[in-house]
C-alpha cells in the first residue's frame, strides 16, 4: 500500500500496540514494524534497529523515559534528524499539545486512532506534513 518499510512505535498499552500491529503489519504490510513496550535502554535499542525506522510514533506516557525525553535523545543523532517523530496521546489537554509543538514533535495523533484513516495520515507525514490531528 504505502512505500514505507520501517516504522517504530513505543507504547506500553498492549491493546494499542496490537492495534498498531494490525494496521501496520496486517493491513499496510510494512515490512519492518518495530514495537517497544517500554523505554528501557531506548536509544541503544533504536540504534540497533536495522533498517532504521523512517517514522517513529511515541506514546507520551511511557516509562522510564517519557515521550519528550525520547524525542530529545533521538534528535541528538544526525541520522535521525529527518525522521518524523509523531506523538500519540490519549489525553488531549491543549496545554500538552502546546508542549508537544514546542518540544519539536513533527505531529500528534489522538487515541483512539482512526485505523481507516491512518494510512493516509502516514502518507502525509512521510511527505513532510506536520499533522496535528487531535480529537
Amino acid at each position: 500500500m504505502s512505500s514505507v518499510s520501517a516504522v517504530l512505535y513505543v507504547e506500553d498499552d498492549p491493546g494499542s500496540r496490537r492495534i498498531m500491529q494490525l494496521v501496520l503489519k496486517g493491513r499496510m504490510q510494512v515490512p519492518h514494524t518495530y514495537l517497544f513496550d517500554d523505554s528501557d535502554n531506548f536509544m541503544e535499542r533504536v540504534l540497533a534497529l536495522e533498517p532504521r525506522p523512517e517514522v517513529i510514533f511515541l506514546d507520551i506516557h511511557v516509562r522510564p523515559f517519557n515521550g519528550f525525553e525520547m524525542l530529545a535523545m533521538v534528535r541528538q543523532y544526525p541520522r535521525f534528524a529527518n525522521v518524523p517523530v509523531i506523538a500519540l496521546t490519549a489525553s488531549v489537554m491543549n496545554e500538552e499539545i502546546q508542549q508537544l509543538r514546542t518540544a519539536g514533535f513533527d505531529g500528534c495523533l489522538a487515541k483512539p486512532i482512526d485505523v481507516d484513516e491512518f494510512p493516509h495520515y502516514l502518507a502525509r507525514i512521510l511527505m513532510g506534513e506536520t499533522l496535528w490531528h487531535v480529537v
Binding site: 492495534i19 524525542l71 500538552e96 489522538a110 483512539p112
Partner: protein, 616 residues
C-alpha cells in the same frame, strides 16, 4: 456654613493656626484700639490739665506784673518834693527826679498828669506817643486819689497801666504818675519763659489782640473759639474745651480764663499747649505696646505651630503612613499612637479595622488557595480521566473494527452488522466522553484554545459538510451550499471550529427528514457570518432556551436518542471563546436556523507563540 474651597483644602494644622491667627488678629486690633483710645484719653486729660496749669501761670505772672508795676509807681511817687513840683507844673524837675528810676525798670511809657488835666509824656520807649492822661477813666481814677492798675489800648498796643496819685505835703492831690508796661508779643514770650511749646495770648472783643512771639510765628492762635467759652471766661471761670481743636498731629490744648486787672475783667487770657510732643509720646507708647503685643503674638503662634505639629499633624501623618502601608498590601501593619485623644482613638479604631481586614484577607486567601488547589486537582483529574477513559476505548473500537472488517478471518453479514453496532456504540461512548470532558474543562475555566493565525474556514466547513453527508445519505434531504469563495483566513482554533461546524451540521441532518439544509458563509468588515438553515420540525419558543443548556434536550431530541445534550452548549462556549456569537431562530413547522459570527482577528485570542520552554 461652607468654607471657600481654598480654605477647606488646607491641612488641619494650618487651619487651626489660621484660626489662632484670626483670634490673635482680632485681639491685636482690640488691644490696639483700646490702647489708642485710652492713651488718647489720658493725653487729652493731661493736655487739658497742662493747659489749665499754664493758664494759671499766665494769670499769676500777669498778676505779679500788675503788682510790681503798682509797687514801682508807688515807690516812684514817694520821692520827696514831687507833689510841690507838680503843683508848679515843673515837669522837668519831676522828670529829672524820676528818670533814673524809670530807666532801671523796663517800662514802656511814663506820664505825668497835673490836677488841671495837662499831662506830659516823660518817657516813651516804644515810640507810642500816647496821652494816657487824657483818658477819661484814668483821669477819674487819678482824681479819686487811688492807686490803680488798668489795661489801656495805646495806639494799637495793649498797655498795663499803673496810676499813682501825687500829693503835696498837705496831702492835696497835685497830679499823678502813669506808668505802663506794654503787653506785646515779646512780653508774652517772656511770661511763657520762652518755652517753645507753650503759648499765651490775650483776647478782647472776641478776637486775639496779642500773642507771644513764637506763637505768632507759628500761627498758633489762628483758630476760632466757641463764643460760649469766651463768655464763661469773661464771667470769671477758667475753661478748658473738652474736644481737641483739630485732630491729628496739629491738635493742641488750650485754656481760657478771665484777665483781671485792677479787680476788673478786661479781657480773656488764653494759654495753649502744643500737643505735638505729647502725641509723639502717645504714638511711641502705642507703637511700643503694639510691638510688644505683636512679639508676644508671634511667639504664641510659633508655640501653636510647634504644638499643633506634635499633637495633631505628626500623629495624623503617622496614621496616614500606616494606612498607606496597609492599603498597599501589608495587612499586618498597625498604628502606634499613644495619646488618648480623638486621634489616639482613631488610631485604635483603625487598628481594629485592620484586624478585621487582615482576618478577611487571610480567609479569602485561604479560600483562594483552596480553590486553586482544587482547580489544579480538577485539571489533573481531567487529564488523567481523559487518558484512562480513552485507552480502553481504543481497544474496543479498533479491535472490533478489525474483526468486523475481516482482518482476522471471515465474518458473516450478521456478525459484521453486530460488530459495526459495537463500533458505533463505542464511538458514541467516545463522543460522550469528549463532550463531558469538554464541559468539565469549560466549567473549570480550563478550556484553552489552540490559536493559529490562518485558519481556513472554508476548508473546515467543507470537511464538516462532507462528514455530515453520510447522515442524510438515505433521506430526501438536499445540502445547499453557498460559501463565499473569498472567505479570509481567521485567527482561531481550527479543531474546535471544526467541532462546532460538525455539531451544528449533524444536528441539522439528524432532525431533518426531508427538504433541504442551506449552509451559507460570508464575510463582513470584521467577521465571518455563517448560517445553517434546516427544514426540520422547528423548536417551540419555550424549548429554545433549553437548546444551549447543558444536559437539557428538547422533548423531540430525547425521543430521537443519541446526543449528549452537551453539543450545543459546548459549541456556544467555543464560539464565544473566539469572541463570536451563536444564536438560533426557529418556528415550529418551519425549521430552524443557527447563526454564527466569528471575528476575523479577535483581540481576546492570543496566538500561540512557539517558544522553546520545555528543556530538552
Amino acid at each position: 456654613m461652607r468654607l471657600p474651597s481654598f480654605l477647606s483644602n488646607l491641612n488641619l494644622a494650618p487651619k487651626l493656626n489660621l484660626l489662632l491667627l484670626l483670634v490673635l488678629g482680632i485681639t491685636f486690633v482690640g488691644v490696639g484700639w483700646l490702647t489708642t483710645g485710652t492713651l488718647r484719653q489720658i493725653i487729652i486729660t493731661g493736655g487739658q490739665q497742662r493747659a489749665g496749669l499754664e493758664l494759671e501761670v499766665f494769670a499769676n505772672q500777669l498778676s505779679h506784673a500788675e503788682e510790681d508795676l503798682l509797687a514801682d509807681a508807688r515807690v516812684m511817687v514817694r520821692t520827696n518834693g514831687l507833689g510841690e513840683q507838680l503843683a508848679d507844673l515843673n515837669f522837668t524837675a519831676v522828670r529829672t527826679a524820676l528818670l533814673p528810676q524809670i530807666a532801671s525798670l523796663e517800662l514802656t511809657t511814663a506820664e505825668l498828669v497835673h490836677a488841671d488835666g495837662s499831662s506830659e509824656l516823660i518817657f516813651d520807649s516804644g515810640g507810642l506817643n500816647v496821652a494816657l492822661g487824657e483818658e477819661e477813666n484814668l483821669t477819674a481814677l487819678l482824681a479819686s486819689g487811688i492807686e490803680t492798675t488798668t489795661i489801656v489800648d495805646g495806639n494799637g498796643t495793649l498797655l498795663l497801666v499803673a496810676t499813682a496819685p501825687i500829693k503835696d505835703q498837705n496831702g492835696a492831690l497835685t497830679g499823678g504818675l502813669l506808668i505802663s508796661q506794654a503787653i506785646d508779643a515779646a512780653y508774652l514770650e517772656e511770661l511763657s519763659f520762652q518755652r517753645e511749646d507753650i503759648h499765651f495770648a490775650v483776647m478782647q472783643d472776641n478776637r486775639f489782640v496779642v500773642q507771644d512771639s513764637s506763637g505768632a510765628e507759628k500761627d498758633e492762635f489762628d483758630f476760632a473759639i466757641d463764643p460760649e467759652l469766651i463768655t464763661q471766661a469773661l464771667g470769671g471761670e477758667s475753661v478748658t474745651p473738652s474736644d481737641l481743636e483739630n485732630s491729628g498731629v496739629d491738635a493742641d490744648f488750650y485754656a481760657l480764663g478771665p484777665m483781671e486787672i485792677g479787680n476788673q475783667v478786661v479781657g480773656v487770657l488764653v494759654a495753649k499747649v502744643e500737643a505735638e510732643e505729647l502725641l509723639t509720646v502717645e504714638q511711641i507708647f502705642t507703637s511700643a505696646i503694639l510691638f510688644g503685643f505683636g512679639v508676644a503674638a508671634l511667639l504664641a503662634l510659633l508655640a501653636a505651630i510647634f504644638f499643633m505639629r506634635r499633637v495633631v499633624t505628626r500623629p495624623i501623618e503617622q496614621l496616614k503612613a500606616t494606612t498607606q502601608i496597609v492599603a498597599s498590601g501589608n495587612y499586618h501593619e498597625r498604628a502606634t499612637i499613644r495619646s488618648n485623644d480623638e486621634i489616639g482613638q482613631l488610631g485604635q479604631d483603625f487598628n481594629k479595622m485592620a484586624n478585621a481586614v487582615e482576618q478577611q484577607i487571610t480567609e479569602v486567601q485561604t479560600a483562594r488557595d483552596q480553590a486553586q488547589r482544587s482547580d489544579r486537582v480538577k485539571s489533573a483529574f481531567l487529564a488523567n480521566m481523559s487518558h484512562e477513559l480513552r485507552t480502553p476505548l481504543n481497544s474496543v473500537i479498533n479491535f472490533t473494527k478489525f474483526v468486523s472488517a475481516g482482518d482476522l478471518g471471515p465474518v458473516n453479514q450478521q456478525q459484521e452488522e453486530m460488530l459495526n453496532e459495537v463500533v458505533k456504540s463505542g464511538r458514541h461512548l467516545l463522543s460522550l466522553i469528549n463532550d463531558v470532558l469538554d464541559m468539565s474543562k469549560i466549567e473549570a475555566g480550563a478550556l484553552t484554545l489552540f490559536v493559529e493565525e490562518n485558519v481556513n474556514l472554508r476548508a473546515a466547513l467543507e470537511q464538516a459538510i462532507s462528514t455530515s453527508r453520510a447522515l442524510v445519505a438515505d433521506k430526501p434531504v438536499a445540502l445547499e451550499i453557498q460559501i463565499d469563495p473569498d472567505l479570509p483566513p481567521i485567527r482561531g482554533d481550527r479543531q474546535r471550529l471544526l467541532q462546532v461546524f460538525l455539531n451544528v451540521l449533524s444536528n441539522a441532518c439528524k432532525f431533518t427528514e426531508r427538504g433541504a439544509i442551506q449552509i451559507q458563509a460570508q464575510q463582513t468588515a470584521k467577521e465571518v457570518l455563517i448560517s445553517v438553515r434546516d427544514s426540520g420540525p422547528g423548536i417551540a419558543p419555550e424549548d429554545q432556551p433549553l437548546v444551549f443548556e447543558p444536559f437539557r434536550q428538547t422533548s423531540r431530541g430525547l425521543r430521537q436518542g443519541s446526543g449528549t445534550g452537551l453539543g450545543m452548549p459546548i459549541s456556544k462556549n467555543l464560539i464565544e471563546a473566539h469572541g463570536g456569537t451563536f444564536r438560533l431562530e426557529s418556528e415550529v413547522g418551519k425549521g430552524t436556523t443557527f447563526y454564527l459570527s466569528i471575528p476575523i482577528r479577535s483581540e481576546i485570542l492570543t496566538p500561540l507563540r512557539l517558544t522553546p520552554e520545555f528543556a530538552l
